[in-house]
């Protein structure tokens, strides 16, 4: 590798040879071993530019943004939609009463009683996934 090529690579890719294109790294390290003073001067200059560039502050992703992004995912939308249909239907009590009439109350009650806190939504999702939720409280 020539000095000019080493210099142009540093100008493009910065002062860390490890971040240069993989196909030139061996030759660059060989140049550095053969001409350490020239290489050091070039790399020091490039590192100073790297340091300036790295002073640009990173923008953190807020929790609100993360939540909005996740809420827009199809799985989240579908879950919300099912839950909404359930909650805006005849109501949980009425739904369960309807389920009783349909002869499935025992199984549902058992599931509700066994479900730990926080899993209600998952249970509702399961009910709707099996079509039972529509029967329980769906408006459509």
């Amino acid at each position: 590798m020539t000095f000019e090529r080493f210099q142009s690579l540093a100008e493009a890719w910065g002062g860390a040879i490890a971040r240069w294109p993989a196909e030139v790294q061996d030759a660059a390290y060989a140049f550095m071993a053969a001409s350490p003073e020239q290489a050091d001067a070039v790399l020091a200059e490039a590192r100073a530019t790297d340091a300036l560039m790295d002073a640009a502050p990173a923008l953190s992703a807020s929790i609100a943004l993360r939540d909005r992004v996740i809420a827009a995912a199809p799985a989240a939308r579908a879950r919300r939609s099912r839950l909404w249909r359930w909650m805006t239907g005849a109501g949980v009590g009425a739904g369960l009463a309807a389920a009783t009439a349909a002869g499935v109350m025992a199984g549902v009650s058992l599931s509700l009683a066994q479900a730990p806190l926080g899993e209600d939504e998952a249970l509702l999702t399961t009910l709707y996934d099996t079509g039972l939720g529509e029967e329980l409280g769906g408006t459509t």
Partner: protein, 181 residues
Amino acid sequence: MTGNDPDQDLVARVGRGDPAAIQALVARKLPRLLQLAHRMLNDAAEAEDVAQEVFLRAWKQAPTWVPGAARFDTWLHRVAMNLCYDRLRRRREQPMAEPPEQVDPGPAPDRRLLAGDTGSRVNAALGALPDRQREAVVLCHYQELGNIEAAGLMGVSVEALESLLARGRRALRAALADLRE
């Protein structure tokens, strides 16, 4: 990991609506995409809008994503970059109520700034680069894409990418010369 795309399995699970995979993909990609948009646009609110839009498209794409043609990360970058260019184009076409922040071209000893201001100066200097130079710098320096991936994403040769990078870095060094003391 499957094949050459480290995101392949995760994307497949996202496509099946796996909530844990959705959260994992967001945790893995949202900070990167937000950074890319912020570096390109130098506007936090617009960067958030772009990041959200990229994910909307990712949610649509995931169920039908066919591995092999491109890495999912590269595809995300391309979508984000296109959205950034759309916004940059609109900025140029519409007169702005407030002019964008400009890089102060005149280095002088009394303009040495505190660390927080240094960051703002760097962002402004990035924003003042020609679009293609800024894209090359953002993809290679900040997003740490390899030369072949970045060149492919930009639709230029590796040599052209290297030239854009070198010119971009030189312009940044010149714009920020007063900070190097």
